[in-house]
Amino acid sequence: MLNIHRDICGYCGCCVSVCPEGALELIDAYLTVEPACTSCGICAKVCPLGALEVVHEK
């Protein structure tokens, strides 16, 4: 599952451009993630601020 830390996010769209599933969307000043997300972690890697985090549920 992808966690979005809205308090850190600068809503820039960098992560949106690299998501292979098109699962992220920036709605003005907040980011949303759709069920299509595969938790691949690409977006979390490139975020300039570190606002995204993939958490694996046990």
Partner: protein, 398 residues
Amino acid sequence: MKNKYDVLVIGGGPAGALAAKTAAEKGLSVCLVEKRPAIGAPVRCAEGIGREALAEFTDPDPRFISAEMTGAAIVAPDGFTMRLESAMAGNKVGYILDRKVFDRELVWRAADAGADVFVKTRATAPIRDGKKIAGAHLEFCGEKRTVKADVVIAADGVESKFSKWCGIDTTVPVREIMSSAQYVLTDIDIDPQATIFYLGNEVAPEGYLWIFPKGKRAANVGVGISGRKSGKGHRAKDYLDRFVKRQFPDGKAIECIVGGVSVCEPLQETVADGLLIAGDAARVVDPLTGGGIYNGMFTGRLAAEVAAKCIGNGNCSKNALMPYDAAWRASKMGRTIARNYQIKEFLIKLSDEKLNDIIHSLAKVNLKEFSTLSLIKEITKANPKLMLELGALAASLR
């Protein structure tokens, strides 16, 4: 908002603004939608543009010019600084814009030309008529609307979701997204008329760090690193904070922005039935410099010109719109992107030692012309061995 226009433009950045203005001037009915509540804010840019590039679209109105540049400097990984002055001392080579004002002014001009403009209005999906893109579903201040159009121009920037919804893969490869962070710093000691670029793995792996003056004691100080090199503890913001702490410990950050710049090759195809893709959405940023303001305006204007012709002929199929794709690729901008992509691919593979060598040797020659091309020409001249490594690229520079 009407429910049918000749042209629907998605995105109110430089690409969308020029598309809307040009289409309106051609006598078409135009609707421009921008999802943000204010055009141009927050800024996602270091705001640098060449003098001639700007002149192609507008006079340098002091309202949107923050500073005029007469020179530049490149700082090698070992700290050695190479200065580049314009051929005539004091001659300006470019500007640092105030994009909050600039972007707004461009959209304002589109509105003056007759385009309808709606902010806080987001495109959420294309409308299809068979295979053809025939408009978009919009969310307008919380209300759902549909707007039909003969041609949709997707100018929705780095996110580029509209084209994705239309079935075109706009995903940027991880290693080719410049993950970036920038402060507007004030109260710092700088050369107010020169841009400075820092290279090297310590400051900006596979990218660069920039100081773009915004006034006598203020500048955009930012860094872009390859997405491949980004991760926990070593993100763009980490590199920026480290540099600022060392270089400008007393600087005051009055703005903090982040962003992504694509430095990949442009989309394979920038047209579909009823759809044209312009600006960052088409991935037409210069892969070497990361500059996309001019390229956005250029492709936006061209997209509208081709749209006007096709609407006039009553045929907006992919084939009919294809001259747009062909024209930008054949243009000076398109050729520069193709060449600079090769140069970027070469440069990012260099070790810091090799970069030092090149910059030291470059400092010994007198550059006659102020451009990345002349810089690269000198690099290859000064380093004959590089010519071999550069192969086909070097041949194209001779």
